[in-house]
């Protein structure tokens, strides 16, 4: 049994078996089983018995700690994927067809090199070390996508549960592994997901072995650098030249890249195909320049709006003015020139 278990879990098991379980049992059972006929008052194992408390590291014998490492446990993976999806605005999805470990290492090395050469610009922190390419478990990622889109933790109602003191207290179970989350995604996908949801657009991508490249912010410069390495397309995103980065033209890297297939992406919660990703990667100057363009557009639109509004009142004023001059001439014509000038001026003021 011992060699099969991972060390941390094995330690937990051993402590459960050796120390906590047997003393607890002996404390509970031996007085009553060894001396059943004595007239001493019986002791029952309740929480209120003084001096009879479970040790801190007690592990229930029927619920031993898991022997699997935490990072491959499905529940932990699901939680990490939902956290990733909620916090990461820019994700590229790749299909990887039997890449070897050496090829992965080489591709990650080239990617890291290319990303570190991206100028930081006006960004407060350099995000290039936090951009990572990781292989995911596709089905669990698919469930995580559903939870992120269809499950609203704030809408979960509280349930009454018994606390350790025996009181009934309201508790909210709204974590991603909860029954509420399960039921929410079941309900949402029961009769097929409507096309408008992002999950319905992304779910066809969740097929076969997948790897994701995650960016902590939407940075078109970094996205362009990554696209140039992982999925080069000559006019806009050329691969680095042999002279500039000889490592990229290594047969191991090239062999790996041939097996890596960019299938799509998710930017700010929206599904993007390759052309969309290229468009985002092609934004010059990043988000700041987009904002500047927007401000410029709004300003010029505002100026246009004021001239348009002014123009309407101006034209109204002009027509009324011309009409008035016409009327004045008509008035003058029948009455002749005997009219006094001050009265005419008074009429003008009205």
């Amino acid at each position: 049994m011992a060699p099969r278990l991972q060390c941390a879990a094995a330690r937990g098991l051993r402590s459960a078996v050796n120390t906590s379980r047997i003393p607890a049992r002996s404390a509970l059972l031996y007085p009553s089983t060894l001396t059943p006929s004595t007239s001493s008052p019986r002791h029952y194992a309740t929480a209120s018995v003084p001096g009879l408390s479970l040790p801190a590291g007690f592990v229930p014998p029927l619920k031993p700690p898991t022997a699997r490492p935490a990072d491959v446990r499905k529940s932990q993976l699901l939680r990490s994927y939902t956290a990733l999806l909620r916090s990461t605005p820019l994700i590229l999805m790749f299909q990887h067809n039997n890449l070897t470990a050496v090829e992965w290492a080489a591709i990650r090395r080239e990617l890291r090199k290319a990303l570190s050469e991206v100028p930081q610009g006006t960004a407060p922190v350099d995000i290039s070390p936090t951009i990572s390419l990781q292989v995911i478990r596709t089905r669990i990622f698919d469930v995580a996508l559903k939870i992120v889109e269809f499950f609203d933790p704030s809408a979960v109602k509280s349930t009454m549960t018994t606390a350790i003191t025996g009181k009934k207290v309201p508790t909210v179970y709204n974590h991603d592994l909860s029954k509420a989350a399960y039921e929410a995604i079941k309900d949402a996908t029961k009769e097929g997901t409507p096309e408008s949801t992002v999950y319905a657009q992304l779910s066809p991508l969740m097929v076969g072995p997948l790897a994701i490249l995650t960016f902590p912010t939407v940075s078109p410069a970094h996205l362009a650098a990554a696209l140039k390495i992982l999925s080069p397309s000559p006019p806009a995103f050329p691969a680095p030249t042999r002279k500039k980065s000889p490592g990229y033209h290594d047969p191991i890297v090239q062999g790996g890249l041939q097996k890596l297939l960019l299938v799509g992406g998710r930017i700010e919660g929206q599904a993007f195909d390759i052309d969309g990703l290229k468009w985002v990667g092609g934004i010059d100057g990043g988000l700041d320049s987009l904002r500047a363009q927007l401000v410029h557009m709004l300003q010029s639109a505002g100026m246009g709006l004021t001239t348009v509004l002014e123009g309407a009142s101006k034209s109204l004023w002009l027509t009324i003015e011309s009409r008035r001059s016409v009327l004045e001439e008509e008035q003058k014509a029948p009455e002749g020139e005997g009219e006094k000038k001050p009265e005419g001026e008074g009429e003008k003021k009205e």
Partner: protein
């Protein structure tokens, strides 16, 4: 899947279509060293709005060509179809070798 006798693989699919599944899974069945062993593999990704059917073209060493319909066949059917011919070639190769 027996991949020894395949020389050309050409796939076209729109990854945003559920019908691309079989073609994509076929690519994952090819061994890591397929390209270095002389298999020519080309993959064409269609844009997201494209409604074209996903296609899979396979050419064998003896010159037999297969155009498999990925829309109606699943990966099991495709593998079965490819292996049926590969087994014949395997048998022939075994007889020649011994």
């Amino acid at each position: 899947m027996i991949t020894r006798f395949i020389t050309h693989v050409t796939t076209r699919f729109n990854p945003f279509s559920p019908r691309a599944k079989a073609a994509r899974l076929f690519l994952t069945r090819l061994p890591p060293g397929a390209r270095s062993d002389g298999m020519a593999i080309t993959t064409e990704l269609l844009p997201r709005t494209s409604a074209a059917a996903s296609s899979l073209y396979i050419k064998f060493k003896d010159g037999k060509e297969m155009n498999l319909d990925c829309d109606t066949m699943n990966i099991k059917g495709i593998v079965e179809e490819v292996d049926r011919h590969s087994r014949q070639l395997q048998k022939q190769a075994d007889l020649d070798g011994s």
